[in-house]
Symmetry: C2
Subunit: 340 residues, 2 copies
DNA sequence: GACCGCCTTCAAAGCGCTTTCAAAGTGCGG
DNA sequence: CCGCACTTTGAAAGCGCTTTGAAGGCGGTC
């Protein structure tokens, strides 16, 4: 069933039927009613490609996912983010296009979006401090929104971020209040903007009390369970082990936890852990009582919101162009006073 | 830059340019060369919508992801699967379209694919025993490929599956050989085909030795860390705790492990665990020595393969229409002889 | 009764590509 | 030197939609 057939059935022109369906004001109420009923009855839905061709729009948002074997962004966090974004897309009539490419192909992928016209805009994941992709997207004129921020990129752009600095400052203060002085930081890759901000928050809190950070207790890497385990193991087996860990991801924290338990230590008594918790659907931080004390912010909600901001921008609707989310600090069983 | 401009620049008709670029045989080698060079130089790439409209093809594959709050398929396993599928799509010039909808909207979403024509086919995730979506897709005539199988659906269709039954039979045998008799099964939802097959494999092995399964040591649910923890806790605290766990997912297994360690028990000595391992990029089963003894099969590779099978089918290329993957059984530190 | 303005509808062009059908050019045998 | 087959190129139609510009119908006004 296409427009032509439908209009023939109705004895109307394609023009009128199209306008009736798209809510233009110049069709009479009676005609509109009739057209809509017929469309429903014959299960008519406009062909997306033809509509796109005629309007110059794709009604789709693209996500480029770099996926070399070294650096994978196809992680559970990303999964939850797109679940949230996908809800918004569905609600507002957009498709979500995912493009998985090798690191080296990312630029080409964005250019292809523009040139092929298969998406109206894109969401940028995992921004670096001075992320070249932002310059690229500005340059080629593809609308975009950033999940996070890029501190060193000048100028304005649409973003949504968590107040990482504040969150980690609060978390560190909390540990300090409990008497911890040897606090380890297991951070994400500090080429990433969020990781730098978290470290800043961590250091802000230490500095405020005149406590120097301990280089041996600092790691920055991909946030996997395995690396969390390894880093924590190294530190715990070292000459001056930490009494507390501040961890950038729930997944790493599971690894840290494994290292702690493996050594027969008790969480919240011998060693404390605070982690950032993205509220992943498949790895909730406990059901009643949280496993970990955590700075919490739902990445799924972030997906919902940012997708909406991007679509607003594409459709010329005015709305927030920047948005900062504050974290909750939730108390779990993984923290306690520093052992003495 | 579009076809018209490019052909004007070249002093050729759109016809010839189009043919040259699409590899039709009736253009001379010299012309083709010249056209391709010009296309490259002017960074020409055909508009996807126009191409789609003209060919009736979308050059895209859709994935419908149900996402109510109760049953979430947006899980890490899915993430790795689409990472693999995405690689194939990119290589073969396809886009990946993701549609996140409420459970109740799944049928509508598939119908929309067909009617809007925004994808050429779809991949079906998490098939049930007698999955209604298969009938639906056959009915509306949208090409599809199934990740897994639906045992109770008659007739032929394209699928790729892991030999779940065999894998779990071998795993169970392995535990039995170690002397375990009270073996718990922490399975996925047994409305899902794979979960039923795994239970069959488990029961096959027990039956072969005349050992009855123990209902109190059987669970079937969403495969989250939290539920793994809860189920294992219940069993370990029960009157007759298991000496070994057979777990359907690495994520659940982490929960089981947590329950075991929380009780001061030692893995591989007091309690054994075997899990299925989908080789998730963000949660590898240890680096040198595996954390868990596991039945292993890469879901990412499955994504790569199945995407290829679907595209073959869409393009009319002959290839495998069904494919069965065997699991490795890898030995880790989580298993040992049954305590006596 | 002629004229004006408004409401409603329509014919047709155009979006950027593919593909059919026709025509022009080329080489070769008779 | 003609005719034929073959190679190479082009004009134009068509994919299904939106949108411009024009026109028909109608009531109200002078």
């Amino acid at each position: 069933m296409n427009l032509k057939e439908l209009s023939r059935i109705l004895g109307l022109s394609q023009t009128t039927v199209s306008r009736a369906l798209n809510g233009y004001p110049e069709v009479s109420a009676a005609t509109r009613e009739r057209v809509q009923a017929a469309a429903r009855q014959h299960n008519y839905s406009p062909n997306a490609r033809a509509k796109g061709l005629a309007t110059g729009r794709a009604y789709a948002i693209g996500h480029v996912i770099p996926s070399s074997d070294s650096h994978e962004i196809v992680n559970p966090i990303f999964g939850d983010f797109i679940a949230g974004a996908g809800e918004t897309y569905a609600r507002r009539g957009y498709d979500m296009v995912l493009t998985v490419v090798d690191d080296a192909e990312v630029e080409r992928a964005f250019r292809a979006y523009k040139v092929k016209g298969n998406v109206d805009g894109t969401i940028l994941h995992g921004p670096l401090l001075n992320d070249p992709r932002i310059y690229l997207l500005r340059d080629i004129g593809l609308p975009f929104a950033v999940h996070g921020r890029a501190s060193e990129v000048p100028g304005d752009y649409t973003w949504l971020d968590v107040n990482n600095r504040r969150a980690f400052q609060r978390a560190t203060d909390f540990l300090l209040d409990l008497g911890h002085r040897r606090i380890a930081l297991i951070n994400g890759l500090e080429a990433m903007d969020f990781a730098v901000r978290r470290r800043q928050g961590f250091e802000d809190a230490l500095t405020a009390r005149g406590i120097p950070p301990i280089p041996a207790l600092h790691r920055s890497a991909e946030m996997t369970e395995g690396l969390g385990f390894r880093f924590a193991s190294e530190m715990l087996d070292g000459p001056a082990p930490p009494t507390a860990f501040l961890v950038s991801s729930f997944i790493s924290a599971l690894g840290v936890r494994r290292a702690v338990l493996d050594r027969g230590l008790k969480l919240g008594r011998d060693v404390s852990i605070i982690t950032h918790d993205d509220v992943l659907s498949y790895m909730t931080n406990g059901e009643d009582e949280p496993i970990f004390t955590a700075t919490r912010s739902s990445v799924r909600e972030a997906g919902r919101l940012l997708a909406g901001m991007l679509i607003d921008r594409i459709e010329g609707v005015t709305g927030d162009t920047q948005k900062m989310l504050e974290c909750d600090l939730v108390l779990g069983a993984s923290t306690g006073p520093a052992p003495r």
